[in-house]
């Protein structure tokens, strides 16, 4: 199975440990890009290398798959989009994204249908959900504009900066494409 695929003017590919560290660090060193997860931004480039290794290990066990989204022509990294906690029994997975400023709604409208189609058609999944810090704008608006359904808010799911964080829950089903 080929895990790399095109999406309009963009390409999605699995990261390469020995090649993508600098670009990934540039993306993930900004706190605003990971606030919604929530997670601390990277502060040294070595963290990107560590993250790449973790991604590779999690992919080997098919527990997760993360793609780097690049412009098809300029090869600039626009976002990292991934699925994790893949549950092959329940046919579900959790979506996660970190977006650069350039990854706005029109861009995501090109990328996300390809990602979801890959998850449903190639991987045979039925449900893709995203959990993100409640009140995370513009991410929640983007999800709704992309057709995700708001399902509720799970209380006190994560401990972050000495606070319990509630996580909003959105989902997209294979049948939502019809």
């Amino acid at each position: 199975m080929n895990w790399n695929f095109p999406a309009g003017n963009f390409t999605l590919r699995l990261p390469l440990v020995d090649q993508d560290g600098a670009a990934l660090y540039d993306l993930l060193k900004e706190q605003t890009r990971v606030d919604h997860i929530p997670r601390l931004a990277m502060s040294v480039e070595a963290q990107a290398l560590d993250e790449l290794r973790r991604m590779a290990m999690r992919f080997e066990t098919r527990e997760a798959a993360f793609w780097l989204v690049e412009g098809a022509y300029d090869q600039q990294l626009l976002a990292r989009i991934g699925i994790q906690k893949i549950n092959w029994m329940l046919s579900s997975a959790q979506l996660q994204w970190e977006l650069s400023d350039a990854a706005d709604l029109p861009v995501l409208q090109e990328i996300m249908p390809a990602v979801l189609n890959f998850c449903f058609a190639e991987l045979g999944l039925h449900r893709i959900e995203m959990r993100l810090r409640a009140g995370s704008e513009p991410h929640e608006t983007l999800l709704q504009q992309l057709g995700f359904h708001y399902e509720g808010c799970l209380p006190a799911q994560v401990e972050y900066n000495d606070s319990s964080v509630d996580m909003a829950l959105y989902s997209f089903l294979a049948s939502d494409r019809d």
Partner: protein
Amino acid sequence: MKFTPELSFSGGRVRPLTYDDVDALFELYQQPELPGQRVLENKDNLVRMVDLSVQMAATQRGMMWALEVDDHIIGMVSAFDWQPSLLRTMLRVDGLPQLTLAQRSAALKTCMDFMADKYHLRNFGYQWIEGQNDAIKTMLTDLGFQQSALMRDAWRSGEQSFANVVQFNYVLDKKKPVAGRLGENSDINPGQNLNAADHSNGGDV
């Protein structure tokens, strides 16, 4: 070593699983209550489950209790997806038809109280799956749970069929434990103060 305690509740008790329970557990899983859950065919799986119940409790990943009424196992209480650092876990009760809602509720509360007291857990989740007894939802809200989310098609009930899941959470209104030196924060870390003979007052001497 024993990691799962025996606890009494009004009308029965919960206790750790043992190998002697395999026949009773096999009987329990002949009448699965979750939509799509298959009838268990192999008793060997239950021997493995007893092993797992010890391993999970020892490593704080989960806890399983046999639910007994009149010395007969008529159900199980399970804590799973236990996140010690995040102070939360998910709960589940499996029961034979004769397990009443009152017994189910009392057993659940007893196990929650233990985990809140012993491990400082403060967020308990419970997933009700479409097709289960509706009255379980009322039982949960009566216990203090609140509906958090309606998760579409989050449970697989067949090869190509799915069921909605209603997630409930019960978040206790209590202080979180804070790491500290001996004697610090003794009101919320009673175990830290080794000088206190009586911990019921929060460890203060």
